[in-house]
Symmetry: C2
Subunit: 330 residues, 2 copies
């Protein structure tokens, strides 16, 4: 920085302001400093800031899918907690790909984030151990880490699904189907488990055709719903495993004859669920709560490195709106 | 890296693999290398990778709001183009704050992104000139940059709004209101301009109470809609300026007496618009197209630095579904 200051004919403080993007420097002076930087052949980086503070005041968030509305409130909540700590949030999407998750997480670590929040896409998180040992606080959100012990914040997937199915049973249904995400995904497996628990507690059998796990792509979900509603052993009610599945099933049900209504409870709330007819009964997660609790835990861990890892489970909430209370047809 | 290799008793290639998070290293060896790195007092960073390639194979995206569904398809499209170029995408949210936009954009630059896509929240982008001069390709999306000449990809906001209002006029409406975002925002101003153009072209006056610009917070939009629908000079149709405004207005209209329906055209499509009753007529933007065109422009610019800045405008599309074709009540 001394060389740059000398070449540009300004003080060190001015160089610092330009390097850190701070105000208080005229455009002309900024250009002179930048020319000096270019001429001397190096690029601004965060090392000055790091040396001064020991931290870069940035945290990273690895999500699964930027277009899934579930992650909107979650990441916004994380962003608000980060902002309250004068910290920037940068995030990336794994697009459900474990390799991409690892690439992104390590890329964020190499960019000197102070901490990392990860929504796991993959089955093994030991790749993060060296980074965690080097001091990057890491909290897992929505699904647990695999292969390492770490702070985790989850929804009560099992209990939530169980309450959704119990609600359908309480309204007279005996023939209930479950359409969910890929079985390797923790949330899908836990919600399936909750479905099975509720059916078992009511002494109801689960027919083979009544469980369908797989991609949430609309074509796959549509076929699964049509098979459960047609065929020799049709269901009279459905529990859908997340908002993506629910939205496709809502469309399938809207196309059917209205005199044979099918009851629906969706896991995950979604925008306009209350304006549809019938309005959709859901098991709502607190996506913002997940983000907020995880982010606060991250900052706690940054202040106190002696905290043992903890798993926090947030309750879900059944929101009764109409679709889950329709009686069995016939 | 030589010091680390020596201390850990491994080759340079192995150190490189550990530093870059590549596979092909046992956990035990990885720990030994990491211990050597820690003991020698430095942290992994991207400098090795940069020296080797000259680029960090990462691009940054600064959005306005992680929870707005408009940005979902946009960022996912950017991510897909980045992936096709073996590049990671990291993004951040300005939360509509110009200072935050600047902080984030500069933080991403300081983390050595090769390029930057910015959805501007602020009124002045000269702060990015030094970075652009230093070689960080920058493309602006959805709104133009201010104070600098740069690649920009926009929707045809004026033409889209004009077509939406012309559609309402064609269905018999003369008393049409516009509820939009803050006037300082380019898209809101352009859509207002399109509304005014269509009214003028049809020889229709715009009454003072028929234009309401401001925050998209539900309470503000609700009040605006109620005032336009009540009062001495009520409207019979509305053009809503973006998906956030549309969703709130849909709720307001759903609470009203069904025998006095109000026609609605919303700017921006949104999920389940077709399942509402009435299904919502929209002026749809191609959010994914905006992201895709902007990202491709970014990579073009990275390959050919002599490209002059260009502004690309993508057309909108009127999607007729029901709400925009309701005749004036009475």
């Amino acid at each position: 920085m001394k060389d740059v200051a000398g070449r540009a004919g300004v003080g060190l403080k001015t160089v610092s302001r330009v390097v850190n993007g701070e105000p208080g420097v005229t455009l002309e002076t900024r250009r002179r400093v930048q020319e000096a930087i270019d001429a001397l052949g190096f690029r601004r980086n965060d090392s000055a800031r790091v040396l001064r503070k020991g931290r870069t005041a940035t945290v990273g968030l690895v999500l699964e899918d930027l277009a899934d509305p579930f992650y909107g409130p979650l990441s916004r909540a994380v962003e608000e907690v980060a902002r309250a700590h004068d910290t920037l949030l940068i995030n990336g999407s794994s697009a459900h790909d474990p390799c991409r998750e690892q690439e992104l997480a390590l890329a964020l670590c190499s960019r000197r984030v102070d901490g990392l929040l990860v929504v796991p896409a993959g089955p093994d998180h030991r790749y993060l151990e060296p980074e965690m040992n080097a001091g990057i606080a890491t909290v897992f959100v929505d699904r647990p880490a695999r292969g390492i012990a770490a702070d985790t914040v989850l929804s009560d997937n099992h209990g939530g699904a169980r309450s959704g199915v119990a609600h359908l049973i309480a309204h007279g249904h005996r023939r209930i189907g479950y359409i969910g995400d890929l079985p390797r995904i923790h949330t899908a497996a836990e919600r399936l488990r909750g479905y099975r628990t509720a059916m078992e507690e009511a002494g109801l059998p689960v027919r083979p055709g009544w469980v369908s796990l797989g991609s949430t792509a609309p074509e796959r979900v549509r076929r699964a719903a049509e098979e459960m509603l047609g065929g020799p052993d049709p269901v009279t009610a459905l529990l859908t495993g997340n908002n993506r599945v629910t939205v496709t099933v809502v469309r399938v049900l809207a196309e059917r004859e209205p005199h044979r209504p099918v009851a629906l409870v969706g896991f995950d709330d979604f925008e306009l669920a209350d304006l549809l007819r019938p309005a959709v009964t859901v098991v709502a997660q607190d996506a913002a709560g997940l983000g907020r609790v995880a982010a606060r835990r991250l900052f706690d861990r940054l202040e106190r490195t002696d905290l043992p890892p903890a798993v926090v489970e947030l309750p879900t909430r059944l929101v009764v709106r109409g679709s889950g209370e329709l009686p069995p047809a016939g």
